[in-house]
Symmetry: C2
Subunit: 116 residues, 2 copies
């Protein structure tokens, strides 16, 4: 995770489990610090799409807007010291609904509890 | 590959090598049959981005325009008969440059040959 000069945060998707990144993104969007850009390269591109889909369909349904998705190619030096092209993706998310009260636990909306 | 009712073609990315799909997409874009939508689900999402990047940066550089990339979630029944959510991506490509003469082989631009 890193700060973006234009306000907002970037979450880089790597080798951790999908839900680790889902919680990072939800926490950032709930903190009110602005848009979050989910970025990934190579093998992690599919996981980046999973993270965004879980955030917008399960955790923050109807409260988040997808920006223009960008794809690109980066030139990296691999472990053997050779240059290789690797694809990348960048998916911007903005919160549209009201922010939750500070200190609210991250999680999907709980079902309405039956009154006793 | 399948025809799209709105004109144009869809190329579904699966288990074949990346270059197989690159050639399919380039051939379709060169045939003049309209835009091509590259689609993939789950593990193939990263390969779909690779295919589009190779087409637009190596084979048809400056001759192809990326449309609005869409992501989504589909509900599939897996081999054990259970339902599972799987992420999907859809990347539209349009040819902007002039079409090559019919019968031109698919390939990157050859280097200018030295006159004898």
């Amino acid at each position: 995770m890193s700060d973006d000069p234009g306000g907002g945060t970037t979450v880089f998707i790597g080798l951790k489990p999908t839900m680790t990144y889902v919680f990072q993104v939800v926490t950032q969007l709930n903190s009110g610090s602005g848009p979050v850009v989910v970025k990934a390269r190579g093998n992690a591109i599919g996981k980046a799409v999973d993270v965004v889909e879980v955030v917008r369909r399960r955790f923050l349904e109807g409260q988040v807007e997808l920006g223009a998705i960008a794809i690109g190619t980066e030139r990296l030096t691999n472990r053997e010291g050779r240059e290789a092209n690797v694809s990348s993706i960048s998916i911007p998310l903005t919160r549209t609904g009201p922010l939750p009260p500070a200190g609210t636990a991250v999680g999907p909306e709980p079902p309405a509890s039956d009154p006793p």
